[in-house]
């Protein structure tokens, strides 16, 4: 796992959120981080850049950039199709990326898998 990714602020926020809100251990979190790393390679962005493109500062608070969120929602769907695994595993890997965005304040919902 590249340390420069693990140590980024947004990844630390995500890993802490996973642990606090869902009881995901640090070790399990690092497994999810491996999937995020693959996604980052695919989109050629670092985690902090992804979040920066989805949020903007307004009056000292964060607002969502609709364009950025739409872009990454679509990129995650593409990633789901390309990544290895059966349908459930593909969705799970896509959801790891959605979880990264959600824990960093980018509200994102997806369709159920039917």
């Amino acid at each position: 796992m590249p340390a420069d990714i693990e140590n980024t602020q947004t990844v630390q926020t995500w890993l802490a959120g996973l642990e606090d809100q869902s009881g995901v251990s640090r070790e399990e979190g690092l497994q999810r981080l491996a999937v995020l790393t693959v996604f980052c390679t695919l989109v050629e962005k670092k985690p902090d850049q992804i979040i920066d493109e989805c949020l903007r500062e307004v009056n000292g608070g964060k607002r969502i950039r609709a364009k950025g969120r739409r872009l990454y929602a679509a990129k995650i769907s593409e990633f789901e199709q390309q990544v290895e695994g059966g349908a459930g595993e593909k969705r799970q890997k896509g959801n790891y990326i959605r979880s990264f965005l959600i824990h960093n304040g980018v509200l994102l919902q997806t369709s159920p898998l039917l």
Binding site: I64, R91, N95, T110, P112, L113, L114
Partner: protein, 262 residues
Amino acid sequence: MEFKEVVGRRRSIRYFLPWRPVERDKVQTILEAARLASRAGNADFARAIVVQRDDLAQADLESLTLPVNAGMIQMAPIHIYWWGDLQAFAHDMPPRAKEQVDIGVLNISHGWTHKFINEVAYPQVVQAFSSDDVLCAKVTGCESGIAISQALLAAVDEGLGTMLCTYPEEPARQVFGVPDHWTALWVQFVGYPAESWEAGGQRPRPPLGELFHEGHYGKPFRGTEEAAARLRAEKMIQDPAPLPWRKEEVRAVSRMLGLPEE
């Protein structure tokens, strides 16, 4: 189900069984409950467009989707798009009020006559409300909300899951072709719940005395323990969230539906 239990069981359900349709007579029951709700001047404030999710064109479904409704809009088989008619009070009140005089609802004992409606109630009250945008929005929102609340409770009584959420007004106008004087309120999602009806327990609310006052602002309304115990026995007051198994339930339901679990 008894009324108090219906009130006690109502939750905002956020996970629906996407594949299980809702019987048409249950949708009719929900709409009847709204139609029969209390409303000022017996005017038609609350309006709705009922939609079967699967009848919506994909492009229309996408145009009605917002980040905050995206999960439910895909899961819930029935959407009820609630609107408020901003012209309802001005348009409906005079004939409806006169009708109520004629059928013995509004009576001389309370000062109601056709003359009073024509010369006082309509020009001095209804027109004043209708020509003030803020007042008009306030009355329309409140009166429609009463109807929507009954629709929610009716859905619960029919064994369904339901919740209110926001929807984008302009795209909805395009999709449904509603009149300009309708204003967008909420979309009510309806379906069979994929989560348990408890949905994690009754939501935390401040105690009565913090919300409601008696006689004067600042003097809290005081309930009694006996009354609260009776409401617990009658299932209006239920176990509060979080129920101990809630996180496991959310994970399991999310996994089943392919939604983010953590």
